[in-house]
Structures are given as C-alpha cells and as structure tokens.
C-alpha cells in the first residue's frame, strides 16, 4: 500500500466521502488513490471549496486537496463561506516552500502559510507517515465536534 493509499483509506474509514481539489506533486499518490472513489478534478481551488460546500449542504463530509499556492486563491471562500456557514471541509494542503527549500515561487507562501491558516481560524497540523491514523482521526473528531474548515498540511516527502 502506498502512503497515498493509506491516507485515502484512512479518510474513507473516518467518514469522509466527497473528494475534490487541484493537484500538487506532493499528493499525487493520494489523488491516484482517490480517483476510483469519485475524486472530482476542479479548475481552481476556490471553486473546489464551492463544490465542497454544495456537497456539505447535501450531507457529505468533503475533502479538498490543494497545493499551498492554492490556499491564496481560497482565502475568500474559506472566510466567507466555510467558516461563517460552519460547513465541514477538510483541507489537505501541501507545504511547498517548507523550511525555505523550494523554487522561488513557493517561498513566500511557504513562510506565510502557518500564519494565514491561524489568521483564518483554520485549525491545522502537519502530517507524518507514522502518525497518519491519528492525524486523520483528529481531523474527523474536530469536524464532527464543530463543523468548519480544518487543514492537514503535507510536508515534502510524506506521501511521495
């Protein structure tokens, strides 16, 4: 089982049942594993959040996958849709620019991402291979307790 398949199985086992997003190489194996489970390839990250909001209104527990570059695209949707309507939405966001080691276009967001998530009151934690089950369990419990956007952040190397 690839790490992506392990995470996909964990998400499904925890009750997440609608998957959409925009790809990043750091989560390629996760998207491959979710395609047979109906993963919807979106055109933009904020549109994926709209799709997830519709799915949540229909009773689903959605997951939106994105590169952290897409977090910038997503902030208005998170702030004026998921967070104020209290719609469940698990973000799986890759951490490009992690520790300042990446291509130049990723460095500003790589530094700013933790503060951006905190500023939008999006509880988050970085995942690790050895803690995958606990990470997914935390997200599922938090969303069940208080429906809103939450994030699991994927550093380089975890799912590749």
């Amino acid at each position: 089982m690839t790490p992506g398949e392990e995470l996909a199985a964990g998400l499904v086992g925890a009750g997440f049942d609608f998957f959409t997003g925009v790809p990043c190489s750091l989560v390629a194996s996760l998207i491959t594993a979710l395609e047979p489970r109906g993963y919807v390839a979106e055109t933009r990250e904020d549109a994926a959040l709209g799709l997830a909001a519709g799915a949540a209104l229909g009773g689903r527990r959605p997951v939106v996958i994105m590169q952290n570059s897409g977090l910038g695209v997503s902030l208005n949707a998170l702030g004026s849709l998921q967070q104020i309507y209290r719609l469940p939405c698990l973000l799986i966001v890759t951490w490009r620019g992690h520790q300042g080691k990446d291509a130049p276009e990723h460095l500003v967001m790589g530094r700013a991402m933790p503060q951006l998530l905190d500023a939008f009151e999006i509880a988050w934690r970085p995942i690790a291979l050895r803690t995958l089950a606990a990470d997914v369990g935390w997200a599922a419990d938090e969303i069940a307790r208080s429906p809103r956007a939450l994030a699991l952040v994927v550093p380089p190397g975890v799912l590749e």
């Binding site: 994926a48 909001a53 519709g54 209104l57 009773g59 949707a77 849709l81």
Partner: protein, 205 residues
C-alpha cells in the same frame, strides 16, 4: 438558440418574480448581492440557499449539490459579475453534465451592489460560452414572456441548461438584507436536502 420577443424590460426583481414560481421543486442557490436579497424577499424557502460572500461560487455550490443529490433538480441563480468571476465553473458543469442542473444568469451588465459599475457582459455572449463548454440547452431572453416560455421548455429538457436573462437596473432601493444567520441558512438547507425530497415536494405542490 433564440432571443425573446420585444417587451417590457426585466429587472432583477421582476425576473425573479417571474422565475421563482417555476423553481418550487428545485434546490436553489442564489448568488450574493441583490439576487439573494430579492429572492429571499420575494419567495424564501428552506431549500433556497443564499450565498452572502464567496462571490463567483454560486454555480460551484450548485454543482456540488447536483453531484451528491443527482435526483434533485438544482437551480443556480447567478449574476453576470459572479459568473465572469468563475468562468471555469461553466467548464466544470459542461464536463460533468448534471442532467437536472438549471443555470439562470441575471445579466444586468453591472456590479449592482457596489454602485452599478459596468461588467463586460454586454460584449461577451455568456450563453455561447456555456454552450461551447457542454451545456445541452442555452438561450438568451429579454422579457418575461420569453423567460417563462424557456423555463417551460427547460423543465422537460435534459440539462445542464443555461438561460441568460437580460435585465436593467431596478427602480428604487435593493431588497432588505437576508434576515437569517448564515449558520441557520446552512442548517435548513442541509435538513431540506437530506430529509428525503418527496415529502417536501408534496407539501409545496
């Protein structure tokens, strides 16, 4: 496909007044701004969702509902400014092609909520973009008679369908703001969509 016959110009208010009675079986998603406010004032229902922020995303929200509740007709009431902000959504709807998806675009050529600044919609045929993206039925109308005629046609056609409705600014002020809290709007929509649609339909018919 065709244009409406000449008649009295529609406004956001009069177009919604004409269209809402045709949408009683639909889960409705209203774009932010005057569209949501007028839809709420003219005919509020628990299964009518008002997007107060997240401009551009009404069609994405409607598509999400259509994907998880394919048996339920879905109507997105969009604006030209909203749709221009998220043209990729036309491609998504065209590609995924939900059959019971009705997209109404109230095209007043302006960002009405912020002071009627012009959009580019008068120079871009949004319904033709939708058609090229894969919508099965598209039309442009300019008066209430043509609006009702096309809503009747689309009611029996296989979608996705898009009806572009040309409007002019409303006289007088906008409708009041949505009187319900966002959490309550989401909760009642979730209840309506997950409670089984047959009883809700019977109640309204």
């Amino acid at each position: 496909m065709s244009s409406g016959v000449a008649g009295e110009c529609l406004t956001t208010r009069s177009a919604l007044a004409a269209a809402l009675p045709w949408l009683t079986r639909h889960a409705v998603v209203c774009a932010n701004g005057h569209i949501s406010r007028w839809a709420c004032a003219l005919g509020d229902r628990p299964d009518q969702f008002y997007m107060i922020g997240s401009m551009g995303l009404a069609s994405s929200i409607g598509l999400g509902i259509a994907l998880v509740a394919p048996e339920r007709p879905v109507c997105v009431i969009d604006g030209d400014g909203n749709l221009l902000m998220n043209l990729g959504s036309l491609a998504m709807v065209g590609a995924l092609a939900p059959q019971r998806f009705l997209h109404l675009v109230l095209d007043n050529g302006a960002y009405a909520s912020t002071g009627n600044q012009a959009t580019i919609s008068r120079r871009v045929a949004l319904e033709e973009i939708a058609r090229a993206a894969g919508y099965r039925c598209t039309a442009r109308v300019r008066d209430a008679e043509a609006l009702v005629e096309w809503l009747g046609r689309f009611a029996v056609a296989s979608g996705p369908a898009l009806l572009l409705i040309e409007t002019v600014p409303d006289d007088g002020g906008p409708a009041p703001r949505i009187p319900l809290a966002t959490r309550a709007l989401a909760a009642r929509m979730q209840a309506a969509l997950t409670a089984g649609n047959s009883s809700a339909r019977a109640e309204r018919s």
